[in-house]
Amino acid sequence: MSSAGRLPTGGRIDRARPIKFSFDGRSMSGFAGDTLASALIANGVSLVGRSFKYHRPRGILSAGSEEPNALVEMRAGARREPNTRATSVELFDGLQAQSQNRWPSLGFDILALNGLVGGFLSAGFYYKTFMWPAAFWEKVYEPLIRRAAGLGRSAGAEDPDHYEKSHAHCDVLVIGGGPAGLMAALTAARSGARVILADEDFLPGGRLNAERQEIDGAAGSIWAATVAAELSSMPNVRLMRRTTVFGVYDGSTYAALERVNDHVAVPPPFQPRQRMWRIYARRSILAAGALERPLVFANNDRPGVMLAGAVRSYINRFAVTPGQRLAVFTCCDDGWQAAIDAAAAGISIEAVIDSRAEASPALGGELGKRDVRIFRGAEVIRAVGSRGLQAIEVRDASGRISSILCDALAMSGGWSPITHLTSHLGGRPVWNESLPAFVPGTLPSGMSVVGAANGAMALARSLAGGRDAGASAARDFGRSASDAPLPKADDEPATVRALWHVSGGRGPAFVDFQNDVTAKDVGLASREGYRSVELLKRYTTLGMATDQGKTSNVNGLAILASELAQPIATVGTTLNRPPFTPVSIGALAGHHRGKDFRATRLSPLHEWAKTHGAVFIESGAWLRASWFPRPGEKDWLESASREVRAVRSAVGLTDVSTLGKIDIQGPDAGTLLDRVYCNTFSTLAVGKARYGVMLREDGFVMDDGTTSRLATDHFVMTTTTANAVGIMRHLEFCHQGLWPGLDVQMTSISEQWAQMAIAGPKSRETLARIVDRQHDISDAAFPYLTAREITILGGTRARLFRISYSGELAYELAVPAGVGNAVAAAIMEAGTDLGIQPYGLEAMGIMRIEKGHVAGSEINGQTTARDLGLGKMMSKKKDYIGRVLAERPALAAPDRWGLVGLKPVDWTTRIRAGAHLIPIGAATTTANDLGYVTSVAFSPSLERWIGLGLISGGASKHGTRVRLVDLLRGSDIEAEVCDPVFYDPKGERLHG
């Protein structure tokens, strides 16, 4: 294998387990324990992608999830996933990665011209340039910009993997598995508290795996592994690797993404790719660590320029080196460690440049003896090279500029605590001048912050902070934390003097690498008046996109502060919001996609309908039988028309189980019904059913349905399918919220009863064959609007209601849901010789339009009972919800839109719901709009198209003509306004 950048020894990698992968089609090899980034470095790859706007060559900046540059497309085909950070991708066998945002190839990119023409895309460029003409946006500018400036491509195919969600509860959630987090988790766990430790890495330990610091006299990584092993073995601990806590929500709720199988090519059977966790934690300890800041100088984006901490990660953890000749540029003590570690690994150190004249002579230790050039009070003003670093230009304390050859530069601008999660509920981080960095301000309730995340940028302090926070959380739960001795460790030197911007070099000095925002852009924005940090962000795009400015925000606002000559504390910072790192849509959806997008409700007659070949339609959450096609029928209309004829001439059976059914009992049941319906129910005789209309308190119609009285203190209500849940909630509100003194008990029985309508002149004859002998259902014994409990088929309990939606002699029969299919089948069998047919939603809809019954299209939240011709139902003898406001003058105005029937003058013409009603001869304008068509049907009974509509003036318009204008479908049809009851206007058939 090629191991250009691989060091011969060391690292927390498993050299016994080589791994094959490919990058841009080139086969490469790494080891278990590598990230894609470390494996690329091992294979001598330094150019990894092209930048967003200028298509500048970019390499690897960091060794973690903050990476702005090394974004790749992972995998192929339907699993292709753009904008993945190579620095946090765990290497696996068969991994395929492609560079992105380059054309035609990574090495030669035509659009890199963007970068050559200087300030071409400077701050606010889009706003300033592509302003005119407006029509150019969609066709010219936007496609052009999208091609030039973009990130990776999505797969464009359905994701074959599955994702899921889960829930966890704990006493203490520890976020981050570095030294502070491990110590906190261990202390809390040993006290017996329920602990979850979530760490985004696949190897717990945080910086301990990247540094050479010792704990208890051994490598820090060994201590981390020992602690992780102890935590794993404890039953009260859940150690979650590869898990990023990405959001904090109200009520101590945390969201985390577990990358269960991102580290394999294809998840094992039945395992999810990723799992999203909702964690309920009584306390949380944030130990997220810190992010190193880049230094801002000319061409600081050249591949080979890397964060100093990342250089140490690659050398110490992954045993790879980003270069053979390394220089270090720092403004803090910590940067020196990169030179020391690299030297120890046998890498040639070309120079250490510390911007601080006062930098301690002790820094660097042995480096002096190795003849390393050391500059104090000096700065790197420019990186030289294009696709890779070749040299740096250094301006020394005396102002003299010299060039130093090198192929890698480690830079450190100091470290910023990862305070993101402390801000998700609105807490503002506060500026600490001595770090200098933002540290957590107001914390979410129950959270404490330890280690580098709290500004403790040294190992011994981090361990102590972790232990104290763990012990304090344990005490909060009344547990005593044993005083386990603190492991022995030293605090490393950690002084910093801020260096926000190095001027004087030729070339763009990048602040935000991902968005190609330079120091010049920040200056320009501030001079143009974008002086608020929030405006700066929107105008320049600083801090946007997948990395959300993890490496750029502090530098950006420090430069803004210096432009404004204000302290950083005054300028403030943008507020971080979830998610901390990108979360895939698949993980957010979890199980809920495709047929599981939401729960589907199936009727207890579903199997029966399926047996009869029903075509189902989604209706709210339900699947409902829409029509029952027979061989030779060409469309739904033909089938539904045949079903209507069967009902009107013989008998049909349809499923009405989806109606809401509410059992209402108690001495005050009638009183409650009187208050919620506009008509009266307390006077309803036992054994009778009545149609009822409910209003909202604002006077408009809310719902309608039939309510029956089975006993003095026992009613059964039906609601429309669509409003079933809402009406139950409304009734509970009326009872619990308005009239808790009423002795009423309400229960939803929608699930318990299968309900079917048996309709048609032969319905009684059919039913009589299944109803048990002792129940007389003759017209005399069981007249229209009778409701009784009966038995059928030899003792099966049932409820029979003589009510009719179709307008025919009809019944609704309710039976326990478990026997629904069997009863429907028995009725079909009983009615075979009478010509019984199943009918569906479409036929039901046609018949209700023929009868002028209102449904959801008419009860649309904007119609009153009067509008719908139901005004007479509004009782004048009692109070009820909606009574007072229904009497408002505007709701009783004569020109309100009222329900009418509509017949096209040419009976063969199909009319459409939604068409507007325009006077004959008038212009088609909004001002002339008289109303609209709410429902239409082809009536097989009348053999013509008919419709229902709402028209200004309502019934007063009967006999007039209007145009039905449908501008969307391009039709303009003359129609007569008529009574909405088209069929059997006297209602004789239902008494048959």
């Binding site: 899921e164 199936l602 029985i749």
Partner: protein, 199 residues
């Protein structure tokens, strides 16, 4: 027409076929059994009668029934609190009924038949908690949700009632008939990685 036997169909009939599902290596992590023969009634005490109703329920089930989200009863009959002054009574076994209890409660409580509208399953096995946690948001930990406790909550946007009925642990889950297919789809997908045995 002459008397005729008609068959009742359980909520999961045709959906949960018995046998192994999901990962088939080793001992199944989750075992699921549908309870098909049972009767259930919903009970709501009349105003001010909750204590009397609880007393009758206690007598009927043979252990104390309280007005809280608790499940009483170790035998065929169980009573679970569902809301203040409200309970769901279940009697398991072929041909079982709760008519006797219904009679005792006359005048004290509103009683409704609920058995046909419900799905009852028992979920057990070493990974039962892990599988259920993928939808159930409440804390299922043995130290928190104990035998005798019960909760109404939801999984995958589907309402359910859940109670640990032994320390295996076995969870009794009661949900609506109409959403049984969607519920099963979620449960199967959640438990598949641990291996499922459907009784």
């Amino acid at each position: 027409m002459a008397d005729r036997k008609i068959a009742s169909r359980s909520a999961l009939a045709g959906l949960a076929k018995s046998g192994a599902l999901g990962v088939s290596k080793g001992v199944p992590g989750v075992r699921i059994r549908e309870i098909t023969d049972f009767a259930a009634i919903g009970i709501i005490a009349r105003r001010g009668r909750a204590a009397e109703v609880a007393a009758i329920l206690s007598r009927h089930v043979g252990s104390p029934v309280v007005d809280a989200a608790k499940r009483a009863g170790a035998g065929a009959v169980s009573i679970t609190g569902t809301a203040p002054g409200q309970w769901l009574a279940i009697s398991r076994g072929p041909g079982t009924s709760l008519d006797e209890l219904r009679t005792e409660l006359a005048g004290l409580a509103a009683v409704t038949d609920q058995g046909d509208g419900r799905l009852i399953i028992e979920v057990t096995g070493p990974r039962a908690r892990d599988a259920l946690a993928k939808g159930v948001a409440i804390d299922l930990d043995a130290g928190v949700f104990k035998v005798g406790d019960a909760a109404q909550t939801s999984a995958a946007h589907i309402g359910l009632q859940i109670a640990p009925i032994d320390e295996a642990p076995t969870f009794e889950i009661i949900s609506a008939r109409s959403t049984a297919a969607s519920f099963w789809s979620w449960l199967e997908s959640s438990a598949a990685e641990y291996g499922i045995d459907v009784a």
